[in-house]
Symmetry: C2
Subunit: 290 residues, 2 copies
Amino acid sequence: MNEYQNQMESYRSAVEETLNGYFTAQDLPQKRLFDAMRYSLLAGGKRIRPVLLLEFCRLCGGDWHAALPFAAAIEMVHTYSLIHDDLPCMDNDDYRRGRLTNHKVFGEANAVLAGDGLLTAAFETLCTAKTGADVIVREVGILSGAAGELGMVGGQVLDLAGEDMVLTEDEVHTIHDLKTSALIRAACQMGVAAAGGTQAQMDAARDYAQALGMAFQIRDDMLDVLGDAEKMGKKTGMDEHKNTFVTLYGVGKCSQLVEQYTKRACAALSIFDDAQFLDQLAARLALREY
Amino acid sequence: MNEYQNQMESYRSAVEETLNGYFTAQDLPQKRLFDAMRYSLLAGGKRIRPVLLLEFCRLCGGDWHAALPFAAAIEMVHTYSLIHDDLPCMDNDDYRRGRLTNHKVFGEANAVLAGDGLLTAAFETLCTAKTGADVIVREVGILSGAAGELGMVGGQVLDLAGEDMVLTEDEVHTIHDLKTSALIRAACQMGVAAAGGTQAQMDAARDYAQALGMAFQIRDDMLDVLGDAEKMGKKTGMDEHKNTFVTLYGVGKCSQLVEQYTKRACAALSIFDDAQFLDQLAARLALREY
């Protein structure tokens, strides 16, 4: 394994171990809720947001081990959003990451509540970090701002409202900026905040995340059309009634855009002299081999 | 108006004004989400949890005006829980507080998202308080702990799981302790924390809230059976397939229990020499005339 893979493996195994420590009580009557929360939380996600958070923390001189509660919290928020997005009243998906979706296993009511529980637990988890209270308040502010009505939740509302409609380029960009990029931006900025980083570092994290989020979403839309169901672990071709970058630009231009955004992401890291990991992560993202 | 009513009016109007200031942007594409969030947030609730929070803050020597963001946050959490509880996959209610429920007006997907948005915004709102970061972290910890899988969400899972089953006395108590009392307890303790109160004050707040929550829930179950639809603002007799205190004890014993718990609530306030407001609030609760 090369250095990138070693570092990635360190982050991922620490994140898995941390996540695996939550909602483990066996003797409480609401055990089924815990099971539903863990079912989705430990479903083998790529942990991209936690990894970005931990690496930006390290890059800004922080102790990334101390930031693991923050990393766990953002993965809880991401997981809750997937559970709710999959619900019958939203995207009505039966599979996610190659397994039955939460509501298919635990029922619709429990899936809503498992999502609610994970979202709430994310903020409880932020408070358990052994850092100064001022850092925790910044983390709560960044995460809630990115996940809420001005961020991810707002994007999901727009995405659903835009189904079966022809949207403008600006509208499609806004949807994906809110629905996808906002939380990736939060991950990077929470990492900087965990290390007590500078405003310049915060800005660089924002620009990197912005470009990475776009590359990520465009690539996601392309994979859906290209039909690589095995790699996606979910049914593909589901986005036909949605406004995607592929319907907007076509596959060829999308491919160019992924390359452009990847370059832009890397360029945003010029203030750091140790950004190889994040450069590689951006490059591999385009291949879905991070 | 007597002193109690004056104070209640001060709290309520300050809370209404504060809540009315959120989610007001008119020029954002996700305006419909804001409308859905405000529809339920400003639906004329009694604001019991904010009032408890503000009064405990005042009682412990704090500036209750400075605690308004905390009061707003707990009302957002309460409101989100009502929106999700009313969903077709949960209690499937058409009316709440005399108006159509959120999903009846905005659709099921938007109602789920309006709830998600309010829950997320609650934590964002806590961070806007002009208090020390250590106080905010305590508020986030208390609120998330009470609202999550070990509190309100856990209680809702148990409540749904127990439908159409005969539960033991202990099981019914556990459900309502988690589903109702936990958030009332959080309100009182967040008030103490806002004022930087002592552990003894924190314990008194917990005991008062515990007893008040029980009186509140028993009274709620009684009203449902007694069929006072006008006072409830929602369809009554809906709890027939649920385990309520009335099915457990009958109306007569419930009436006695409300009285006992009300006395117990007042007794918990003996360490304060200025607890008339909270005494009266507990007494009036039994009459639903707070």
